[in-house]
Amino acid sequence: MTTDLSTVIRPIDSANGLPNAHYTDPEVFAEEREGVIFDQWAGLAVAADVPEAGDAKPVELLGVPLLLIRDKGGQVRVFHNICRHRGMILVSEPRKIEGAIRCPYHSWCYSTQGRLVATPHVGGPGMNTHEDIDKSDLGLVEVPSHIWRDVVFVNLNGNAAPFEDVHADLLQRWYEFDSPHHHGGADSRFQLDVKTNWKLAVENYCESYHLPWVHPGLNSYSRLEDHYHIEKPGQYSGQGTYVYRQLKADSGEVFPDFPGLSDKWNEGAEYVAVFPNVLLGAQRDHAFAIILEPRGLDETSEHIHLYYASEKTDDALRARNTAQWKEVFEEDVFVVEGMQKGRHAPGFDGGRFSPAMDGPTHLFHAWVAEKLHDRREKLAAE
């Protein structure tokens, strides 16, 4: 099935959203898997998942088995989590690799840098070499990866421009936050499993239009007019606020600020969707990253991580902060699940956008349409 995306890429005042099939049709889901996820820099995990050298964690991205590992030199890498011999899964649960990664099937062994180091009995019993098996050609398949704000981005198809080029504008926009971000630890991560297509979580995140209705608790200090759109066509979108208010303990204590920030961040904060599937928040005293894991057409796991400027922060305040954000993100669940159900209404035209308020959302739809258009053109030319 090839969807008509011509109405999506119109100017916002006459555009429609993506057609229903982008939320309900397995064929379109498969098309997006390649063109919108695998061809791009998609969020996979956070580096804090593998804090020490040798830590390894199996992860999947839309069915592709991957291994996130911090090698012995401290570099975080992503490999196909399969042996080059018979394709067996190498690591099936998070664990520390002491020495080599040993395949549980025939015990081919790999270094944490992916080098094939042993092929036991490959030339017969007790003979560990064979003239036709060149170990230097049979290392683990490494997936291009890039870490920014602790998020591990991967370009599964290996065909994207370098991350720093693709996201040069956003990196510059937030350069003041290029200081260490410390994961808050076990109490600063949580997961929400939501019955929705992953794109609806992006669409909801990047606009402020819904805030007074869905998050009424914000109204007392953060009104709609206190927000502005962030719109970089073809790149990213989101929203900013002029009235960010720090969380305070009863004692008046707050989290320490990230160092070197200019005055604009005293009460300013920004929330950006890094397309396709990473949602980031930048604030003076803490940050967060949400990785949207697409698990199916209408299944998404939201992995939320909170970060601070210092390694040690107040336990109680940190727990309050996690609880506060969890409440906010849970308030969005009925919306993204409701829109997913709504996409089964036959003949829905993708919806109309408020030209004044929905710019960031339309920008995301147009980005998806553009990436799919590029892919269709490429396939047609082959």
Partner: protein
């Protein structure tokens, strides 16, 4: 079943890889053919690689001398 076989099976059952290295070295040292010795040394070497065990270099040297790595 020999005593060594029984200890090897027990170590496999317990997934005691450190013990397996020593037991496979012992098996290699008492093997009656070079092929069998190579087989056992290979197993010791693989488990040593996996555990980053200090015996891995010596095991590799032995296998290398036998033309088996």
């Amino acid at each position: 079943m020999s005593d060594l076989d029984e200890r090897l099976l027990a170590a496999h059952e317990a997934d005691d890889r450190g013990a397996l290295i020593a037991l496979y070295i012992e098996a290699a040292d008492t093997a009656t053919s070079e092929t069998a010795a190579g087989f056992y040394l290979t197993h010791a070497y693989v488990f040593a690689l996996e555990l980053n065990d200090g015996r891995q270099d010596a095991l590799r040297t032995r296998l290398k001398a036998m033309g088996r790595v």
